[in-house]
Every structure is written in structure tokens, then in C-alpha cells.
């Protein structure tokens, strides 16, 4: 490909030829221009052939590390060494995959080489939130001839994998806050996602020993005939089977710094740990393109391990057979389905919800707050997503409750969104 410099030389010569053959007729200059035009034309042809015969196998590209494990939000250094034999300007571009942002330095370098040379590229990068595994494929080399008139582009493979393990500590504060509010006896918060330990069944007159915080002030105020205070009455329920279903479609990620998938993982971690701590069984179902995965988490360590493998997968899942998830969906389970409007796994998600409904499970469907996560989207796309969400909600079986999670939710917002404040 002829570069901008090459084009400007050829155009300059063409215009000069026109000028000196007509308006400023000058035979000496005309012959000079014929010489220069012929020289640069033949040079471009010769160099183009030389670039075409360049073998990118002769280029050696080495990365500092082939596998990098980083914590979310942490930076990591990308180091590339390119060794090649070339005369002229060489541009090296590391092909930065989606999910990676360059924090400092540059992912490109431009140097002038003469013979066997080494080009080094060094920059700091970070993984966008919402990505678990990101793969670098290789580097793009742009070779210019010594005069900078012609260039050739080559791709040289140089793989590197960046993994982001799930962090327990990240959601620890969130979980603690929620457990304080869930503690039995306070009676104000009932977690619908894991089954209530105590369920509100009615009111009764205040008696000696009742806590003031259990007074049902609204009912007390409404019943003006009786001066007695009314307190809330609870009934302890049995242990439950808790199931979290995560749709692993790419629509779960909006490509933001604090993504919907992150909020989902935080919520699943919180719910799972609460369920395990209160003695319920907790199962995690991942709807993935290579088939659904069911994890039975008996401990927090197992829950962490299961969540570490959650990532989006581009292949669509068309259906889920009953026997694939039959072990997870016990009758009467508390099932929470985390999905997104417009998901490519819609058929599979709906099939799983229908199956859970047939087994009399209590189903909660969690969707992203589209206006928050899609704030940067085109208004038409946003509108289409909202219509998708409305259609999805209207097609859910009767009895399903629907919650939404907003962008970068604070612990308080998550608690208000996911946990039903009873009483």
C-alpha cells in the first residue's frame, strides 16, 4: 500500500508534469520530471514486490508473560519484544482485545530499523469490569520502505491470556451489611431469594416482653378504636433449597467499568453465602453455550470456586433439557434467575423458568436497570432494549417476581433491590 508520503510525491510529480508541459512550458524541467516520475514509479513497484516477499515467519515476537492473573481493577504490565530484520520505519501495534484498556504508556511503537533490530513495547493495562478471561492474539507490524513511500502490514501471532479470579473480599462488606439486616429477631428484613427464616403472618396486641422495634406503627395508627399497640407476628419456616441461575450471554456485559455482570456476581455471592450460613442448600446454574453447568455449593470456598469460572460466552444456547437441570431444581426451591433483556439465550432461560414454575418453585427474575447500564447507548437501541425487557417480563409465568439492579449499585441499593423489606 502506498503511504501518504508516497502519494504526495507522486501527486507532486504529476501536477508538476502538467504545469511544466502547459502553462510554464520548460523542456529541461519536463525531462527532469519524466526522470523523477519514472524513478519513483519504478521504485514503488520494486519496493512493493520486496514487501510482498517479506516473510512474517522471520519475525520473532516474545511476550513477557503468557498467562497473567490480575485482580479486578489492578494494572498489569504488557511487555513485547519484536526482533526482525528490516531497513526502514517499523510500526508495532499490540492488538488490544475488547475488555482491556491501556492505562499508561502506548500499545504502539514506531522506530527506524537498519538491519537486525529489536523493538520493545511496554505499557500498563487493566481489565474492564465484566471480563473474566481476555486473550491477546498477537501484534500488527507495519513495515515502511526506507523512503517511507510504501508500507506493508503483517499480523504476527503472540498469544497471552489475562485471567481475573473472583474475589471473595470484594463483596465481603456487602454481605456483612445484608446479614445484619437479615438477622432473625429484628423481623424487618425477609430475604425472598433464599427463603424466609421468619415470615410475617399478622399482628397481635402488644404484651409484656415484646420489643418496641416490632411495633407495627401503621396498623396501630389505623385502628383508632383500640388504644392497644399492635406488634408483628412471625412464624419460623423450614430450610429451603436455594438456586441461582446466571445467564452467561454477552448481553450480561455492557462493557462498563462496573458492569451488570459484576453486580450479579456480587448478589449471587451475597445470596449464596447467606443461604449456606443459614443451612440451606445452594446451587449455582450457569447457562453456557457448551451446556449448562450445575454447582452444588456446600461451603463458601466452593461458592468462590464456582463463581471464579463465570464469564460471558458468545455461542447461543437454544434449549435446556429437563434432565440437565433436574438435580438443581428441586420442587419448592427458591430460584433466582439473573438475565438481561435481548439475551441470545432467551429460549433456554424461558424454558428453565417454565420448568421451575412447573415444580412450584418461587421464582425471582433479576434484570439490569437498562437506563443506567445503557446510558451511553443510542436512544433507539435503549428504547428497543426497554421494549425487550417489557416483552420478557410480560411473557413470564404468573407468580414470578421481577427485580432490577442499577448501575454501580451501592450495598444499600442492592439490599433494597434484592431483599424484600417486609413488615
Amino acid at each position: 500500500m502506498i503511504t501518504a508520503e508516497g502519494k504526495s510525491v507522486l501527486v507532486e510529480l504529476a501536477l508538476s508534469l502538467l504545469l511544466f508541459s502547459t502553462l510554464l512550458y520548460n523542456p529541461v524541467l519536463l525531462l527532469s520530471l519524466a526522470f523523477l516520475t519514472a524513478f519513483f514509479s519504478f521504485y514503488v513497484i520494486g519496493v512493493s514486490r520486496r514487501l510482498a516477499s517479506f516473510k512474517h515467519e522471520s519475525v520473532e515476537v516474545r511476550r513477557g508473560q503468557e498467562v497473567v492473573e490480575v485482580l479486578r481493577g489492578s494494572r498489569f504490565e504488557v511487555r513485547i519484544t519484536v526482533e526482525l530484520d528490516w531497513h526502514g520505519i517499523v510500526e508495532v501495534f499490540d492488538v488490544v482485545p475488547p475488555g482491556i484498556r491501556v492505562v499508561s504508556g502506548s500499545s504502539a511503537s514506531r522506530v527506524r530499523c537498519s538491519g537486525r533490530s529489536t523493538v520493545e513495547l511496554r505499557y500498563e493495562a487493566a481489565v474492564w469490569s465484566g471480563y473474566r478471561v481476555v486473550r491477546f492474539e498477537g501484534v500488527k507490524l507495519v513495515l515502511h520502505d526506507p523512503l517511507g513511500l510504501v508500507r506493508g502490514t503483517f499480523f504476527v501471532p503472540a498469544p497471552m491470556e489475562v485471567r481475573v479470579p473472583f474475589e471473595r473480599a470484594r463483596h465481603a462488606g456487602l454481605w456483612t451489611t445484608s446479614m445484619v439486616r437479615l438477622s432473625p429477631g429484628s423481623g424487618t428484613v425477609l430475604n425472598q431469594l433464599i427463603g424466609e427464616d421468619y415470615s410475617f403472618v399478622g399482628v397481635r396486641p402488644f404484651s409484656e416482653g415484646d420489643k418496641v422495634r416490632d411495633v407495627h406503627w401503621r396498623k396501630t395508627a389505623a385502628l383508632t378504636d383500640d388504644d392497644a399497640l399492635l406488634v408483628k407476628r412471625y412464624e419460623r419456616l423450614g430450610r429451603g433449597n436455594v438456586v441461582a441461575v446466571i445467564d452467561c450471554s454477552p448481553e450480561m456485559s455492557f462493557g462498563l467499568a462496573n458492569d451488570y455482570l459484576d453486580a450479579v456476581l456480587g448478589a449471587v455471592w451475597m445470596t449464596g453465602k447467606s443461604a449456606i450460613d443459614q443451612g440451606s442448600s445452594f446451587r449455582l446454574v450457569l447457562i453456557r453455550s457448551r451446556g449448562p453447568a450445575v454447582f452444588t455449593c456446600g461451603s463458601v470456598a466452593e461458592l468462590s470456586e464456582a463463581l471464579a469460572g463465570v464469564d460471558v460466552e458468545s455461542g447461543p444456547v437454544t434449549s435446556i433439557t429437563e434432565h440437565e437441570v433436574s438435580g438443581a431444581l428441586a420442587p419448592g426451591s427458591y430460584v433466582t434467575v439473573y438475565t438481561s433483556p435481548g439475551t441470545r439465550n432467551l429460549t433456554a432461560v424461558m424454558g428453565l423458568i417454565s420448568l421451575a414454575a412447573r415444580r412450584s418453585c418461587r421464582i425471582t427474575v433479576v434484570l439490569p436497570e437498562v437506563r443506567d447500564y445503557g446510558a451511553s447507548l443510542d436512544p433507539d437501541v435503549l428504547g428497543a432494549l426497554e421494549r425487550c425487557a417489557e416483552r420478557f417480563v410480560s411473557s413470564l409465568p404468573r407468580g414470578c417476581s421481577v427485580r432490577t439492579i442499577g448501575h454501580a449499585p451501592s450495598p444499600y441499593v442492592i439490599r433494597r433491590t434484592l431483599l424484600h423489606e417486609g413488615g
Binding site: 502506498i2 504529476a14 519524466a34 520494486g46 514487501l51 531497513h87 527506524r112 517511507g148
Partner: protein
């Protein structure tokens, strides 16, 4: 290689230097002629001498305007005429300082053209610095005729061979200065240069047999440009 680059650069500038030398030999020297010749190239002085450059440009300009208001316009005309005289020198300096092929080729062309035009102006003014600018204006109005007259003049009998040598030197200069004298590309440069000499030889041969050589050059030039563009697209990977 640096010496080779400088030497080829100077040879590439030989037509411009030759024409400038002829112009300077023809023009009658006065203080304003000398100042006019030196002041514009002083813009290329290093930064530490920038004040000197400004002084060299503004002091004679202001003084000549002052004299114009006193009724003596000849100084201003001399100064302006010799500003124009320094144009080939400016082009020569920019050729030696050029860092891109297009810049060097442009500077080379402008140095030869400005050298020819300025010499034509000086010759038409019979060496009178006051009339150089006026003659140049005339030359600009009918450039073809003026240049044709000048090119036929006996003083310029060495210009054509000088231009031929300078073109080869220019190609060498570009390869050494811009291309860094890359060894693997010597063959490409020599091959392209030989082919270009062949094209010029065919053109000269054609001019001996037929009259419409201008059309022939245009056709050959445009065909070469198209072929190089197609080759650039076809061969080089993107």
C-alpha cells in the same frame, strides 16, 4: 555516508547554485542588494541568533520605507528585488534540511524553477537591482516566453548537463539522507534509476523522430503513475 550525503546534496543543488551565481554576477551590487540577499536566509539561523535575523529583516525594510516616504523609492525596490534573488538559496537550504522525499523533491524543483525565473528577471533588468522586481512581474505575466528566451541564451549552455547530473545526485541524496543508505535497497534504487534513465533516453529518441514530445512525456508519466499505484495496491499487503 554523511559525507556522501552532503556531496550528493551539493551536486543536486548545482543547477540552482549555477543559476544563482549567474544572477549575482549580473546584478549590480549595492548595500541594499547585499542586505536583501542575506536577510531572508537568516531565518534559518539557529534560535540563539534569532534576534539578529529579526534585525536583519526589519531594519533595512523600515529604513527603505522611511526613504520611500522621503521620496526615494529605489531602496525599497532594490530590497524587494533582492529578496526575490534569495529564493533559490532558500530552496537550496530547505532541500538540505528536508526530511521527507516529497519535501526534498519539491525543494529541488522549486530551486531550479526559481533559479531560472530569477535569472530571467535579472537578465531582463540588465542587472539593475531597481528593475529586478518589475522584470520578474513581467516574467510572471508571460512566464513561458521569458524562460524560453533565457534557456536559449548562450550563458545557460551548461544548464542541461548540470540538471542531468543533479538528478542522479538527487536520487542518491534521497537514498542516503532519507533512506539512511539501506544496503538491501541499493539494488531497488539502482534498478529504478536505470529504468528512469531508459525512459528519458526513449523520450529523447522520440523527440528526434517526432515533434509532439510533450504529449509523449505526459502519456508515459501518467502510465507510470498508474502502474506504480496498481503495483502498490497489488503487491503490498494491508
Amino acid at each position: 555516508m554523511k559525507a556522501g550525503s552532503w556531496a550528493s546534496g551539493l551536486v543536486a543543488l548545482s543547477p540552482s547554485l549555477y543559476l544563482t551565481a549567474l544572477s549575482l554576477a549580473t546584478v549590480r551590487p549595492t548595500p541594499f542588494t547585499v542586505i536583501g540577499l542575506l536577510s531572508l536566509p537568516s531565518v534559518f539561523l539557529p534560535l540563539r541568533y534569532q534576534n539578529l535575523g529579526i534585525l536583519m529583516i526589519y531594519a533595512p525594510a523600515l529604513y527603505s520605507i522611511f526613504e520611500l516616504m522621503q521620496g526615494k523609492g529605489q531602496y525599497l525596490m532594490e530590497l524587494a528585488g533582492c529578496y526575490v534573488l534569495s529564493l533559490p538559496v532558500l530552496s537550496a537550504i530547505s532541500l538540505l534540511r528536508g526530511s521527507t522525499s516529497s519535501g526534498v523533491v519539491g525543494s529541488y524543483l522549486s530551486s531550479v524553477i526559481s533559479g531560472t525565473v530569477v535569472y530571467a528577471g535579472v537578465r531582463a533588468a540588465h542587472g539593475d537591482p531597481k528593475l529586478v522586481l518589475y522584470s520578474l512581474m513581467q516574467a510572471l505575466i508571460s512566464p513561458g516566453n521569458t524562460e524560453a528566451d533565457v534557456l536559449r541564451s548562450p550563458e545557460l549552455q551548461y544548464l542541461t548537463p548540470l540538471v542531468a547530473v543533479s538528478l542522479v545526485a538527487l536520487v542518491v541524496y534521497i537514498h542516503l539522507k532519507i533512506g539512511g543508505g539501506a544496503e538491501p535497497f541499493y539494488r531497488t534504487v539502482i534498478g529504478a534509476g536505470s529504468a528512469a534513465v531508459g525512459v528519458v533516453a526513449v523520450t529523447v529518441l522520440y523527440s528526434l523522430l517526432f515533434e509532439d514530445v510533450t504529449l509523449f512525456i505526459l502519456l508515459v508519466g501518467s502510465a507510470l503513475l498508474v502502474v506504480s499505484g496498481v503495483a502498490g495496491l497489488a503487491f503490498a499487503k494491508e
